[in-house]
Amino acid sequence: MSASTLRDIDEAAGACVAAAPPAGGGAGGAGRGRAASQAAPPTVVIGEGASRGFGFREIWEYRELLWFLTWREIQGVYRQTALGMTWVFLRPLLNVLVLSVVFGKIVRVPSEGMPYPLFALVALLPWSYFSGAAARGARSLVDNMHLISKVYFPRIVIPLAGTVSGLVDFAASFLVLLAAMQFYRMPARIEMLWLPLFLAIAFCLALAIGLWLATLSVKYRDVSFAVTFVLQALMYASPVIYPAAMVPERWQFLYSLNPMVGVIQGFRWMLLGQNAPGGAAFAASLALCLAALAGGAYVFRRTERSVVDLL
């Protein structure tokens, strides 16, 4: 315990605080994997003087955990079901069936010249992904409390896994959609290449909502009740079962501030050749979405430090 070694550990700590040298642990990362197996393991600072950075690097270091949690989410869902993964295809089909009967046949909602089932399915795809991912994100912290209270990792990995795992369901539903388009003899369109963009918007929005609600749910369990309601309300505020054009002109701008409006319109444009989203409202909705995401991430990272004490 000589004086020189003491200085040594302090300097290592100082390096972490400054977070400057990329060779260090950065963001107090536990220095996992390769770095750790080398001669000088990095020092983690706990409490005063710990790094307050956002810690993208740390999240990157835990990418394998993100992958495993995502995988667990997907695996766990369909275990011990008779139909197994068939449910992935069945769920969108059954949803569309119900919507087509109620809104296509009985209420007779206009579908802008498209067969109603196709019209609904195209919107249902991003919507189901979004609502599922947002709900999973909102629940994630409370559901995984047993993990959080036992072992350290950047907590943001948990809502992130909830958002990512929905992509598998989405991909399966997309196959259903392609089959449906074949059935209705809809040609494939080059605009389909825009898909990643619109999916990314839905991803960001779901993550943003998930982060905000997860943060709140730690303190207020009321969130779990509110989530169902909020998502339902949001569904009616998005053109899932009806065309966006049915909304009166003077409400259009306000209506289009909902990023899901742009996403769903985008899907109908890419796949069915209907009107593309655009204009100031669409741009504003994107800005809104990104702001919500940045805010959510910030709030989440701030509370995650004390999450265990509040849960």
């Binding site: 315990m1 536990a30 600072v45 394998e64 766990g76 275990r79 350290y152």
Partner: protein, 430 residues
């Protein structure tokens, strides 16, 4: 080459306690709560009163050299687990800081991250990832882990179908094959059978011999003595002693088991209590004896409590919690269960003596502690004396089987047994 693996400086963790109001949530006032939804919010925003603050860890500083195996001992609630949680970054300290060099593995509970629906194989990877292992690392050690746990045949079975023993073995096997520079272990040895515990201890010795730093919380003094060269003793959140294992353990045991069979406070001013009750004397003695006489399982014990009631008309009663050496509550008893004066009568101001007779053949042999509580109106604790009495009860060999040493169990009551011959039994006696 001795360098520092862990340095803790003035570490403190404050918790807010006093959840009495929140626990009352499910009570009949549900409708009132439904009508005033912001009550909880206001409660949460309010600044905590001083009596609602608990420092689980306060002003703790120490340094641990790399490769050392250090035990942490202390009573329940002394802050041991909180310290490990802080060091493993599960929660943030309120003040102070800690520097930890290298990868930290924490084994605070076995089975962290197991998913019941997934198979043993899948859970090994999942749990490993959560504990901080790389996929390659897990794959490399996979066979070793499976062999350690002895679950070869059940790798493709969902873990929810495992017996609890298999579950724990597999969980520990994964955790035991972590290779962190610093390993934090909290009482995992409390699970599993003796053979498994031995295996765990062996594994921890291996870890230490590989030059890793181990912090080991346990109530198992024998394990601490065997594993650790140095011991930290936490008491009420503070570092009470820090030194060579044998030294600290001896002091700890002496303090814990030093009998306190009688306490007397002649001056009410300095006596424990508050403005409702104040203690004058507590003692435990064998029936017909004095507090200096040995206590045995075959003789009834008398607990006497003399106290001042300072609030006229208080509906006061006493409650005793009898704890075993492991700090588990063996049983509780209240004076209002059989004593007319404290059942529901308002007590006039004055000095009282309550006594409680613990029948023979009820307590197990060993060290016991009695926590004394005063309750008002049958439910509200107005005063609690943690260390009212500390004493050891000896097995005097009156019972068959006493030869084999202490029986397991919090109590060892003598119960009524009867065996009747149904077929053929009478022939032998005839």
């Amino acid at each position: 080459m001795s360098d520092i693996a862990i340095r803790v400086q003035g570490l403190g963790k404050r918790y807010r306690i006093g959840r009495a109001r929140r626990e009352a949530r499910n009570h009949p006032s549900f409708f009132r709560r439904a009508l005033s939804p912001f009550g909880y919010l206001m409660e949460a925003m309010r600044r905590p009163r001083p009596d609602e603050i608990l420092w689980a860890i306060r002003d703790v500083s120490f340094e641990i050299e790399r490769g050392a195996v250090v035990g942490i001992i202390g009573r329940n609630g002394a802050g041991k687990s909180t310290l490990l949680r802080l060091l493993s970054r599960i929660t943030e300290p309120t003040c102070g800081r800690a520097l930890v060099r290298g990868r930290v593995g924490s084994l605070l509970e076995v089975g962290t991250g197991f998913h019941p629906e997934l198979t043993g194989r899948e859970n090994i990877f999942l749990s490993g990832a959560i504990l901080g292992m790389r996929r390659k690392e897990i794959a490399r050690k996979f066979d070793e882990i499976v062999a350690f746990a002895g679950v070869e045949k059940f790798l493709e079975t969902p873990v929810k179908r495992y017996s609890s023993g298999m579950y724990v073995r597999l969980a520990f096997a994964v955790a035991a094959h972590l290779e962190p520079e610093v390993l934090l272990v909290d009482e995992v040895l409390a699970v599993g059978d003796a053979a498994f515990q031995k295996k765990c201890l062996g594994r921890m010795t291996d870890v230490a011999s590989e030059g890793r730093t181990v912090l080991f919380v346990s109530h198992n003094m024998i394990a601490v003595q065997n594993l650790c060269a140095r011991v930290l003793w936490l008491h009420e959140g503070r570092l009470h002693a820090d030194g060579p294992a044998a030294d600290v353990l001896n002091r700890y045991l002496a303090a814990a088991f030093c009998a306190r069979r009688e306490q007397h406070w002649p001056d009410p001013q300095g006596a424990p209590g508050n403005d409702i009750v104040r203690l004058r004397r507590v003692c435990i003695r064998p029936e017909g004896g004095t507090p200096a006489d040995p206590l045995s399982t075959s003789v009834p014990l008398i607990v006497e409590v003399e106290f001042w009631n300072l609030r006229a008309g208080a509906r006061l009663h006493l409650c005793l919690h009898v704890l075993t050496e492991q700090q588990a509550v063996a049983f509780t008893t209240g004076s209002n269960e059989s004593d007319a004066l404290t059942r529901d009568n308002p007590l006039p101001e004055g000095l009282y003596r309550s006594s409680c007779r613990i029948p023979a053949d009820l307590l197990n042999s060993g060290v016991h502690r009695i926590v004394l509580l005063f309750l008002i109106n049958g439910l509200k604790i107005v005063f609690r004396h943690e260390e009212a009495l500390l004493f050891e009860v000896l097995e005097t060999g009156g019972r068959p089987g006493a030869w084999y040493g202490k029986e397991p169990g919090a109590v060892h009551p003598k119960l009524e047994w009867e065996t009747l011959p149904l077929i053929g039994g009478t022939a032998a006696s005839a």
